[in-house]
Symmetry: none
Amino acid sequence: MVKPESNPPLSRRERLKREREARILNAAATVFSEKGFHQATIREIADLADVADGTIYNYFADKFDLLIGLLSRLAEVDRLQEELTQAQQKGAQAFFETAFRQRLNRIMQAEKILQALLPEVLVNRELRQRFYQQYVSRLTSLLEQYLQQRIEQGHIRPVHVPLTVRIIQSVLIGLLFVRILGDEPLGSQWEKVPQVLTTLLFDGLNPREEEDDRPGLVADA
Amino acid sequence: MVKPESNPPLSRRERLKREREARILNAAATVFSEKGFHQATIREIADLADVADGTIYNYFADKFDLLIGLLSRLAEVDRLQEELTQAQQKGAQAFFETAFRQRLNRIMQAEKILQALLPEVLVNRELRQRFYQQYVSRLTSLLEQYLQQRIEQGHIRPVHVPLTVRIIQSVLIGLLFVRILGDEPLGSQWEKVPQVLTTLLFDGLNPREEEDDRPGLVADA
Amino acid sequence: MVKPESNPPLSRRERLKREREARILNAAATVFSEKGFHQATIREIADLADVADGTIYNYFADKFDLLIGLLSRLAEVDRLQEELTQAQQKGAQAFFETAFRQRLNRIMQAEKILQALLPEVLVNRELRQRFYQQYVSRLTSLLEQYLQQRIEQGHIRPVHVPLTVRIIQSVLIGLLFVRILGDEPLGSQWEKVPQVLTTLLFDGLNPREEEDDRPGLVADA
Amino acid sequence: MVKPESNPPLSRRERLKREREARILNAAATVFSEKGFHQATIREIADLADVADGTIYNYFADKFDLLIGLLSRLAEVDRLQEELTQAQQKGAQAFFETAFRQRLNRIMQAEKILQALLPEVLVNRELRQRFYQQYVSRLTSLLEQYLQQRIEQGHIRPVHVPLTVRIIQSVLIGLLFVRILGDEPLGSQWEKVPQVLTTLLFDGLNPREEEDDRPGLVADA
DNA sequence: TATGAATGAGGGTTCATTCAT
DNA sequence: TATGAATGAACCCTCATTCAT
């Protein structure tokens, strides 16, 4: 299932190479996320990765290619489809809560990389397109299919599928954004977000007959 | 539109100065949004504003100060409080739909400026804090107050107010983000978003007894 | 006659600009001729010209453009046609002696520039073509016309005009080359060359009845 | 062709080494002549020679040493003295025509190497001196001796021997130069040059009583 | 106050050379 | 001895900023 990459007789040389590339990408993520792509210098990344400046160019064509490398790693590690497929066996609401939790976890894990990428994504056409295709539209497609299906099954109200999916996508990205902005409640209560979000999405703000007493719905901080 | 500051007669000299500053800021917004802050050059902005390079430094301390200028203009023109106060006279759902429409309209009007600012907001601590305070947290506060009130009045289900408000904020910012990414449905159906979003927020995805037949809920594109 | 460029009301600013450009080109000629184009650094040229590195780029697009600038100056200052036209009023042999003297003088005056240009001329296609057109082929054409005419008039033996002219051209360039190589006799007896060359070219090596007693034909060094 | 050095049996190992060195020098000549010494990279030469970068440094001390290697090969292969000695048995004019033909043939054969060397010869003091000694002055000396002798024998008019010889040398180098410049007539009629040059050198441009009808003296292209 | 040329620090990138394998 | 990845010094060029006019 998960391409096991099980050709492990990697030569020592090959292992060193991979390890070096990883170190460089890590360093790039750190420096980019702290200073921004343009403020970051190759020198600084090289120092942090403990290689010489020139070595970076044995692994990446140029500075921008480091961003591409980060984006690739982002997409590569992500098990988006598999995760979502598993979650589909649950009910609709549980599916969304699971999906949100997965996505928000991923975002948190990859926060540094995302913080390195996002600013340039907004600015660079090529990166923007790659990011949209490799990162955004994949989730969009899956959600559209899922939502459509569930609507047809009557498990979900008939809504404007494309826009609803965009709205859901936007929440996720927006949450990352506001989190990066340093918003305190989001920073400290990130784990609660999936549930609040799911409840909101399913039950809405409208008051119901039956009072809802589940914990976590009211701020306790 | 609402220019209550028009008290003093303003000398010809003064008018010229203001007009020049506006031209410079416009040029900066255009160039920054197209190329990004770091790719943009003072020369290019000066050319577009039809002034000499050096002139810009009579109006702004340095290149970064142009961003501050754009942020100020963003906040300055915005009638956030007044608009929301007006909307509060409506019912809760109508309030949100109005508020969303206002916000999304503002976002669209100021898209160029926002596209110029956002990348640097993610990268520059000072700008980030200013942006958060002048642009994000103002809405957050107002929404928190409003939501709290309505919950106490029983018009809205008791929800986790801080996170709910962050989620709402995130939708707005995220929508802008996905729009900038070039997402087609968002680009072409931007006007429908407020209603879809409001319905989603209030009624949720859960199916109800009574079928919902209001127009615009199902994609027709 | 010599376009006097008599629009002297050059502003002070303009004069300074021209003077700066000249200083830069002089410095470039010096450094290029001493170290070669690739060994030369912009820093060094700037220092010698007493300007900042960046200033050079206000006058020349890039390092290579300095070579183009040198080539232009070479062609610009040269009064090739006028000089030759004057010389045409003399007899054939006197014409050539005059022409050789003019050319060899020019070469000596411009030796630094030529030494800066030649190596790159051999290496860079664009410069090669420009050099050939602006510097070499102009003389070639004039000589071809002149030789053809004189042959038709019977003042010169019928020879293979194109090759003969190339041979003459080659002597001039070759003499410069051997001079640059540091050849001593050429360095110290450069002024004798035109006469020796002319005699050789007209009378040849074949011995004649009448012994030739003109001075300068036998080495006295 | 004439390989009298073939005394020792040469081990397989030794043969491989020589062959490798030859491949490297060939590659260097090709790349240098096409791009120039400084534009050429060791990588490119190594690729063309089908060896690794580092291998080149087992054969040559550094990049510059490749030029020295080319110069050595140039001098080594050249049978200057033997060829000229043979030619001396002819009459003076035949001698020169033979000598010119030999030299111009050599130049053509070695054009690539010369084109690789000349630019750096003009720029690098050490290479310049070596080139002058190993390539230029050897011919100069031989010609000076020969010319002096013939003059004393009365077969050649008494001319300024040192300068005359320099002029002859200069023609050869200059012809190579103009050829490299891409001059068309020289490129296509290179074989005619020795004869035209010899006639010019011996008979001069002065018209004679007897009309000269030998072929090849008038351009037919 | 507007101008725009001069400034020069800064950084991405190249590539000859080294050296562990 | 051959390999080829790592090294890091070196350099062209950009461009924000200054300042004489």
